[in-house]
């Protein structure tokens, strides 16, 4: 039987996974079918940047592997490219994670756009080594995609942050002040 804390964490993971599915499906079956003249914002990437930034340690890495597996359901990309790509993205975000302490939405948007550009470059690099036939550069398409990602990231951040806060595991409160003031009783 799971403790309430673990149960809460479990539901958070389930909800975020469903959200990841929704983001991928929105991008592939809604945006690209209705608005085919502008590339869709990379909602999946914004999602990943958020969890890489906000969620702690090893659990997130394993969770990313799961997401990488889900990711390939929406594309032809092989699993090796997906996992290598996502780990590269994790490394990129990790570089900034403990160096910039800010909750600014704008900064998050900038980081998302930077991550998108990094991912594109990294994907080309990976494709050169891991695939028989290297991917095309598609410079303007990728650039436009990063710009769209920048624009969409603010809204996604607010949504994800709200859900994250709703499922935040609260530590049990201990009356520290009482212990601190206990010496006053002796006086």
């Amino acid at each position: 039987m799971m403790s309430p804390k673990n149960l809460r964490r479990f539901f958070k993971y389930v909800l975020f996974t469903i959200l990841f599915f929704m983001f991928c499906a929105f991008q592939t079956s809604f945006w690209s079918v209705l608005i085919d003249f502008i590339p869709a914002p990379q909602l999946w990437l914004i999602f990943l940047v958020y969890i890489f930034l906000k969620w702690p340690g090893y659990g997130t890495i394993f969770y990313t592997y799961l997401l990488g597996f889900i990711f390939i359901l929406f594309t032809l990309m092989p699993l090796k490219m997906s996992w290598f790509g996502l780990m590269g993205l994790y490394g990129f975000v990790w570089l900034f994670k403990n160096r910039i302490h800010s909750v600014s939405i704008f900064l998050f948007s900038v980081l998302s756009a930077a991550a998108s550009i990094f991912y594109s470059a990294y994907y080309i690099f990976l494709s050169y080594f891991l695939e028989n036939k290297m991917t095309s550069f598609l410079f303007f398409e990728r650039l436009l995609e990063s710009a769209m990602t920048f624009l969409a990231s603010g809204i996604i951040y607010v949504l994800l942050n709200y859900l994250d806060q709703a499922f935040a595991v609260q530590e049990s409160w201990t009356p520290v002040s009482k212990n601190l003031n206990s010496h006053l009783d002796d006086i």
């Binding site: 991928c24 499906a25 991008q27 592939t28 079956s29 690209s32 079918v33 085919d36 590339p39 999946w44 990711f71 929406f74 594309t75 032809l76 990309m77 994907y123 494709s127 036939k133 991917t135 095309s136 598609l138 398409e141 990728r142 995609e145």
Partner: protein, 296 residues
């Protein structure tokens, strides 16, 4: 001396007061002409009259224009609404017309072929720009299997590569993982079409002595056991003859614009149907008609 204590001044004034109406009676008789002393007054009156008349006209005009504008504004809004509604209807009508035509073509195609086809609708595209795939609304539940050919009325699209229960992923022939056996319709020489990732492909392993030119039609070769033979794949856009290479490098443009596909057919059973003769006949007919036009 004033014997009777008579006030002349007062009397004169009274006289004038009485005489003036009498004079006016006299003046009434010559109404058509204005007497000389009344002319400046009349002129002044005219000026003021016309001034106020213009003013009143102006006010009336402005007020009426204002009310007109209000009316026009409401009419305009109403007309705009109507126009919007009509243009929406027109667009819908045009859209329906196009859809009707497209569906008619699809039904005709399905009727006239011996192949067993499953119609499907495109419901999604690839998540990444690096791959060219589409998702359709039919899966294993509807009889789809891996490596089945996907066509439209005008040409080959790709093949099923990941069938799920109710949906399937189709690898388009422009994807860089895609490989399709192909035939140059004119020379009948075989080659392999490889996708290039963007909206083009490359035909490889065609002998460098072959007479291939831009504009030649590339059709499916049928050796891959995926596509029926002779179905249009693309058109040659460029032919490169590298000095050291034994084969030509032929750039092709697919006949299908992958971004605009909405409905496709999955070939469940090709029933040995070959489109090669049909497409060759069609090409010959079009070439003949072109020649006739040239002769004329």
């Amino acid at each position: 001396m004033n014997f009777l204590n008579f006030n002349f001044k007062k009397t004169f004034l009274l006289l004038v007061i009485f005489i003036l109406p009498l004079i006016s009676i006299n003046m009434e008789q010559k109404r058509s002409t204005t007497v000389w002393f009344a002319q400046p007054l009349s002129f002044t009156a005219e000026i003021f009259q016309s001034l106020f008349s213009n003013l009143s006209l102006g006010v009336r005009g402005t007020v009426s224009e204002y009310f007109n504008l209000l009316r026009i504004k409401s009419e305009n809004t109403e007309l705009k609404n109507k126009m919007g509604e009509l243009s929406t209807r027109l667009k819908l009508f045009e859209e329906n017309q196009i859809e009707l035509e497209r569906l008619k073509n699809l039904i005709d195609f399905q009727k006239n072929t011996q192949m067993q086809l499953i119609p499907a609708q495109v419901i999604g595209r690839d998540l990444l720009p690096d791959h060219k795939t589409i998702t359709i609304n039919k899966g294993t539940h509807h009889g789809l299997k891996n490596m089945q050919a996907v066509l439209t009325v005008s040409g080959a699209v790709g093949y099923v590569f990941r069938p799920e229960k109710f949906t399937s992923h189709i690898m388009l022939m422009t994807d860089r993982y895609s490989v399709v056996d192909a035939l140059i319709q004119k020379t009948r020489s075989h080659g392999i079409v490889e996708g290039q990732g963007e909206n083009n492909g490359i035909l490889q392993y065609v002998d460098r002595t072959d007479d291939v030119k831009a504009g030649d039609l590339i059709v499916t070769g049928g050796l891959d056991n995926i596509f029926p033979k002779g179905f249009p794949l693309g058109v040659v856009t460029e032919v490169a003859r590298k000095t050291k290479s034994a084969s030509l490098i032929i750039q092709i443009r697919p006949v299908i614009e992958s971004d605009k596909i909405e409905e496709v057919f999955i070939v469940q059973n090709a029933a040995g149907e070959s489109f090669f003769e049909k497409s060759t006949e069609q090409t010959n007919e079009s070439a003949d008609s072109k020649k006739e036009i040239d002769i004329k």
